[in-house]
Every structure is written in C-alpha cells, then in structure tokens.
C-alpha cells in the first residue's frame, strides 16, 4: 500500500507541467477599462513575510517560490491579483484547501477549483494558487473578478493530479476536511503532535489528512504520512516517539505503535506501516490492539 502511495505521488508530479511561459497578469486596458496601478510587487522565499505578516509559514513549508502582486484601477475602483507560485501542484493544492473553507457554489463557467464572492475569487491551477481581490466596492464585482481570473488561468499551465487522497478511507470522511501536510506548521492545522517537525517531513515528504465523523463528538483526524523509504519512515516514527508534544501522555510505546492521550482526554494512535506512518487522533475511545 505504501509503495503504491509513493508511486502515485511521483506519477502525479510527472504528469504536470511546471512553469507557464505567458504572463498571467493582464496588461493595461484590460476589459477596455482596467489599467495597472503602481508597479507590481515581488516577494520571494521567506520575504513572503513582508506581504503576509504572520501566516507565511504554511506557504513556505508546503513549498513556496514567489508571489507576484499587481493592482489594477478603473474609475477609482481597485482590485489586485496575487499569484502564488508554489514549488509543485500539490503545494498549490495544499494552500487552496487551507483557504477555501466551505467552498460553496462557484461559477460553473470557470473550470479551475475555486471559491467566489464579491470580495475575492481564489483558485488553484498547476503550481499556482491565485487570488483576485476586490479592494473597493467595485460594481458587478463577481463578473470582474471572474474575467481577471479567467485571463490568468488560461496562461497558467494546469495538470491532472489524480486522486492523491485515494489512500484515505472515504467512509465517514468530513466534507472539506482534506489537507496536505509537509511539516509542523501544516501539521498543526490538523493536530499538534509536537514541535520541530515531529514526523520529520522536512517540507520534502508529504502527508495527507482528513477528518472523520464520530457521532455527536468532534470528528477524529487521520494523518497518513508517506516517505521515500522505510528508513525515513522509521526515523520519523522514532522521532515522533521521542519528541511527542509534552501535552500528550504516552500510554503505549512499542516498536511500531504508539498510543497517547491528550489535554482534552481524547486518544491518539500512531502506527508505522512500512514506508508510511498512520496517525489517528482526537479519538473518543482508547484504541485497542
């Protein structure tokens, strides 16, 4: 199972083109109305903090290359496009999943995964996560945002990732809970297992996660971390055992199994399975062997 998961990710990457050759930023006179307003801004690597003052960690951890920001103006109305070039399509998808919330009904004419309201349109395509933002009370905003997004999307190369979440059980899965995890910051959006990258993902290994119904209780969360080798998975598992968050009490510690209880008296279980680590947390009942 674990080898299939790793191969699946490799195939997903190989099916995707990397960088677009056309400028996805509209030029002056777009739609016969909108002109570029002030020079565009570029934020590379950790300088993303200059744009998102707190909150950049998840972008950097998933794999961030650069952000281009350009504002446009028409009769006093302003909007902006922000194109986040991530390191790979999975990273871009990861950011989109974090930000999309309950996506709701978008626009059927716009084919990239997206969310749309009068203030913001966000979409993911290929390596790019893009937001188009209404900065003033622009009339007919949704149509304007769609036009800008459509222009950009046509100039960003897309790719087919396939069902990268296939290894996660479908039964009982909470809609909208899928997540990509590549280190401690994206992991803590699912669950706090400890500091300093407890699963040793290092921004290079990828885990997938989802929530599952537990009747009237809060959902549990399942995290499936996939490594390039059994050695790496074992190292991650040993690190987890050694550096488990101090607020989690270890109940069972075995070579390939760890059971713990958290600050809310819920339970968690981590199991080493070849090249993968499966972690199930926020369980109302203590896991049995």
């Amino acid at each position: 199972m674990s080898r299939i998961i790793v191969i699946g990710f490799l195939l997903a990457f190989s099916a995707c083109a990397s960088v677009s050759t056309e400028d996805p930023m509209p030029q002056n006179g777009f739609m016969g109305q909108w002109d570029r307003f002030k020079p565009g801004l570029l934020f590379e690597g950790a300088n993303l903090y200059g744009h998102i003052n707190g909150g950049s960690e998840v972008y950097l951890e998933l794999g961030f290359d650069r952000l281009e920001v350009q504002k446009f103006i028409h009769k006093g109305n302003q909007l902006s496009i922000e194109i986040y070039r991530m390191s790979d399509p999975v990273a871009a998808l990861g950011i989109f999943l974090l930000n999309r919330g309950e996506a709701g009904a978008g626009d059927p004419s716009f084919r990239a995964p997206h969310t749309l309201n009068p203030y913001q349109l966000q979409f993911v395509r290929g390596n790019a996560y893009v937001t188009v933002n209404n900065l003033t009370e622009t009339p007919n905003a949704k149509q304007v945002l769609l036009s800008f997004a459509d222009y950009a999307a046509h100039r960003i190369k897309g790719c087919e990732l396939g069902d990268i979440f296939a290894p996660l059980p479908k039964a009982g899965q909470v809609e909208g809970s899928l997540r990509i995890v590549r280190g401690p910051f994206t992991l803590e959006r699912v669950y706090m297992l400890g500091g300093n990258d407890p699963l040793l993902l290092g921004g290079k290994e990828t885990a997938i996660a989802a929530d599952y119904e537990q009747g009237d209780n809060d959902p549990s969360s399942l995290i499936l971390a996939q490594y390039g080798s059994e050695e790496k998975a074992k190292a991650g598992f040993e690190n987890l055992k050694t550096n488990l968050d101090p607020y989690l009490d270890k109940l069972v510690v075995q070579d390939q199994r760890l059971v713990f209880q958290d600050y809310s008296s819920k339970f968690g279980e981590a199991v080493l399975e070849g090249t993968a680590i499966r972690v199930h947390v926020n369980l109302v009942s203590k896991p049995r062997v």
Binding site: N47, Q120, P184, E188
Partner: protein, 402 residues
C-alpha cells in the same frame, strides 16, 4: 489605581536561567513550541508543569527593570472589557457611521463610568501626542474601519486635543495608503508609517528609512537574524524590514514622539490563535520582524508589549469587531468574513484578547472549522499576566455587554 499583578522574573518564565547563557542557537518551530509549559492560569489546572526547555535569549529583562508609568497597562480598568453590539452598525453591506459613533461613545462611557469629556481627562491631556494604531491589512474587508477611527478622532478633538497632535500609524506607509488612511481622507491628521517596504536601497546597501528607528530602543533575540545567505533574498528582506541583524528597533515615532497610544485592531484569527490587540502592536512597533515569526511568534506578542514605549503609553484598546474573520487569517480571506456588529473596549489588552480569542474559538466551532485548543494557543496570555501586563484568567475577566 494599584496594579494587582506582581511580575515574575521573565528569565525564569521562559526557561532561560539568567546566569546561564545559551551557548548554542536553539531554533523553535514557532513561538511557544519550545518554551516549555508555564503553569496554566485559570485554564487546565490539572496539568502539571512540563519540564522547561532551553529558550532563545531576549532582552525582556531590560524592559522589566524600567519602572512602570502610572498609566501602564493593564491600565485604569484591569480585567474589564465592554462589548457594544448594534446590528445597525453594518446592514445591507453598508456601515452606518452615526451608529458606530454612538457605539464608540457607549463603550468608552461604560468602560470608564464617566462622560466622554471626563473619560478624555482620565486618559489624556491636551498636550498629549496620541498615536492611533490601526490595522490596515485586509482592506476593505477586515481592516480597522474608518468609521471607528473617525469616531475616536472626533472624540479627541471635541475634547480639545489639537488635530496636529493625532497620528494614525502603522508599520508600513504603503499599507496605510492602500487602506485609505491618507492625508486627503484625514485632513490635518498626521499619517505615519514607520517605514516604506517598496523602496530601493541606497548605494551603501542601507534602507533610506533607517533614521526612522531608534537604535537605543530595541527587541533583541539572540541568534535570530533576517539573513538567508542568498544575496537577492537578503536585499529583498532589507528593503522591507530595514535591518536584518539580531535587533528589531522601535520606531522613533513611539520612543520620541507619541505620548499615548490608542490601539484599534481588527478581529481575526491567525491559525488557531488570534491577531487582535497584542499582535496589532507588537509586530508593528518594531522593524526586522520577518525573522521573528517562526521561532518567536507568540513570545513577541508577549514581550514587546512589556517594552516601556508600549507598556507605559497604551491607554485604550478598541477591538473593531464590526466584521470578523474566523479562519484563513491573518490575511484577508473573504470566505470566512462575517458580520459581528460589535466593538470591544478595554484598557487591559490581555483581557481584551482573551475575550476575543474565546469568542472566535466559539465561532470557529460553530462554523465547524478545524479547531485546536492546544494550550500553546493560550499560554502566552498567561505569560502576559505573569509579566504584569493584564488579566488572562477568563473566569476573572468582567465582560460587560451593552
């Protein structure tokens, strides 16, 4: 008014023995993850204190040596938060300026128990230079509303404060301008960013806004620098953050000009924490902050507030919760913005943020957002209380709803 809090030795608070200096750089994944676990205060008292881990050395001890001013936070009303709610404040996608002004009046009067004129006299005098710290990020959705800022300015000027003694400020000039905080929209009021972030460095490689910062007033974090070793990225960092060493300097605006601060933050999350009163000030008052997010996020929100240039000047906080954002923050994310119709008033920024944190937590649960109640997202409030900055125990905070 007596401060009921007795500050503890800050070096023991963060697991760093004053007599032992760190020999090696210990980098934390995020503020709080490696700080150990200070005793919880009013939260889960059943948990034993966890072993402390080595922490990054800062200069918080220097701040604590400076005697507190009379009006130092938590201010005249420790542990007291007034929440004013009016559904007419934002209706049919329009803000009602008059309703919001009335809310500001109600909130201040209820907080102080005095008239508006008397409240002014409690907190200011006519010679004060008042810095209004807005949050311009996320315009037009979740930035500090102009209607709130304008109501506050009107109160100050009606009570005799000259317009030229009022400064609307933030870290970056461009952010203020983008959010509409301009000389044109606020005639006679000073608009002041600590630095520009899209400016070319000088020939000697320095930022032209270096003179805006006070080299004698800083937040020091040992071994934490804004350098990557890659020239282009380091130059970009400098053009935004002005300096990239181990010191984050306070703006001279705060150390040498402003005598009082009114803090008007937005109402939003940052991951499982909040970006409200503490974040709004702590990360805006100093430069070179990019280096601090990963290793020291919550700790900066705690320690910078203890610096005398904030601690002794911050007299009033008004949390702008007319609209809130319950997820996707701290940047703007329209998916999660909602109408909250409320303003919150406090002299005690800790009590205010605790109140906001708990409300936003409830909202996140209501909206079925993934929530973590790990103690680290709250423990920094307890640390603030131990430093004598305000009240963190939600059972002791008085929230008055109007």
């Amino acid at each position: 008014m007596n401060n009921p809090y007795t500050p503890v030795n800050p070096d023991r608070l963060f697991g760093c023995d004053r007599r032992r200096f760190l020999q090696t750089f210990c980098c934390t994944a995020a503020g709080g993850l490696m700080l150990g676990a200070p005793p919880l205060y009013g939260q889960d008292d059943k948990k034993e204190k966890k072993p402390e881990k080595p922490a990054i050395k800062t200069n918080i001890g220097d701040y604590m040596k400076v005697p507190r001013a009379r009006c130092a936070i938590p201010g005249l009303f420790p542990g007291k938060v007034v929440k004013v709610t009016d559904p007419d404040s934002y209706k049919d996608e329009a803000f009602d300026k008059d309703v919001i002004e009335k809310m500001v009046h109600k909130g201040i009067r209820k907080l102080t128990g005095k008239t508006m004129k008397e409240s002014f006299g409690l907190l200011f005098n006519e010679k004060d230079v008042v810095g209004i710290k807005v949050n311009p990020v996320g315009a037009p959705l979740i930035n500090t509303r102009h209607e709130v800022t304008q109501a506050v300015i009107k109160w100050l000027t009606d009570c005799g404060l000259p317009k030229e003694n009022i400064v609307i400020w933030d870290r970056f000039n461009e952010s203020l301008e983008e959010a509409g905080y301009t000389a044109k929209n606020y005639p006679g009021i000073q608009i002041h960013g600590l630095n520009r972030y899209s400016v070319k460095l000088k020939e000697d490689g320095t930022h032209p806004d270096e003179p805006n910062f006070d080299k004698e007033a800083f937040y020091y974090a040992e071994g934490v620098e804004g350098k990557t070793g890659k020239e282009t990225m380091d130059l970009q960092y400098l053009s935004q953050h002005v300096f990239n060493g181990q010191h984050s300097y306070f703006g001279k605006l705060l150390t040498r000009k402003i005598t009082k601060i009114i803090n008007i933050p937005g109402y939003k999350n940052t991951g499982n924490g909040v970006s409200m009163a503490l974040k709004n000030l702590a990360y805006a008052a100093i430069c070179n902050t990019g280096r601090l997010h990963r290793p020291l996020f919550f700790r900066v929100c705690t320690e910078v507030m203890a610096a005398p240039w904030i601690r002794d000047k911050l007299v009033l906080n008004i949390l702008d919760g007319i609209r809130g954002q319950y997820d996707g923050g701290p940047g703007k994310n329209a998916q999660f913005v909602y109408s909250n119709h409320s303003l919150y008033f406090a002299t005690d920024p800790i009590a205010l943020d605790v109140t906001g944190h708990n409300e936003l937590l409830a909202k996140r649960k209501e909206m079925k957002v993934k929530v973590s109640e790990h103690p680290r997202y709250f423990s920094y409030f307890n640390d603030c209380e131990k430093l004598g900055l305000g009240m963190a125990n939600k059972d002791k905070i008085e929230v008055i709803k109007v």
